[in-house]
Amino acid sequence: MTSYLTPLLGGLAIGLAATGLLYLLGRIAGISGILWAAIAGGLSHDSGWRWCFLAGLLLGPLLYHLVTATPYPAAPAAGLPFAVVGGLLVGVGTRLGSGCTSGHGVCGIGRLSVRSLAATVTFMATGIATVYLLRQLWGLA
């Protein structure tokens, strides 16, 4: 049962963070969108909050591991080609599909957006299918 506890608490923290951003700044906490808009906006005044949010996204885990003395997770097992191809597909896909797990999954479903629900079901399905092909059929990864 304890293995469910940290995911549950982590999920609550993510939900509260998304609620906070909506309540305080009126914005959706979609990481891929915030990241790309920050880069596209550069250091313009309007993008300041995005860079601050992203800074927090990096500081959060650092603080968590430091304060709780939890060791870092093991390095990703997948090799470099998986990092390159996986990264490219995540980048292309999240821009083409206007969002990722946070924007569509956590916030979009929270807003009862059918568009986001369709996106979430789609990326969950292809994610599961990809792992199935790699592990069960091809014995990779």
Partner: protein, 137 residues
């Protein structure tokens, strides 16, 4: 003030990602391995997060944002080919390495070179999608 608020929200989001196990690719791929050795733990991450937003967004959206003039929300409602193709490609990339964008950025602090390569590739993919979108349009 807005920047401080954004920093605090990002911080809480990042703590949530690390605490939940989303920054551990083995955990994520185990969760996606539905037809193998399925590890259901991460179901609780999305489940808990969505339970919060489903209730809280209802209340928040009734009023006005505290530090902005108005809410800035996505307006599109159509389910088009771009959305589904994009989501499908994103899922494949997620399943290949084990990171979606948030956890990938958070995991940069672990200073694992492969994660850095993943994030750089992700940014290249985002830039490429812009060029691709312009050609399609």
């Amino acid at each position: 003030m807005r920047n401080l608020a954004a920093l605090a929200c990002g911080l809480l989001f990042g703590v949530g990602l690390a605490l939940s196990g989303m920054t551990d690719t083995a955990k994520v791929l185990g969760f996606l391995d539905l037809f193998g050795h399925w590890d259901p733990d991460l179901l609780f991450v999305m489940g808990a997060a969505v339970c919060v937003t489903l209730v809280s967004f209802r209340f928040v959206l009734r009023g006005k944002p505290l530090l902005a003039q108005a809410f800035d929300l996505p307006t599109r409602k159509d389910i088009d080919v771009h959305l589904l193709t994009g989501a499908a490609l994103f899922g494949v990339g997620w399943g290949l390495f084990g990171y979606c964008p948030g956890p990938a950025l958070s995991a940069l602090v672990y200073l694992e070179p492969k994660t850095g390569v993943f994030v750089v590739s992700m940014l290249a993919g985002m830039a490429l999608a812009g060029a691709l979108g312009r050609r399609l349009a």
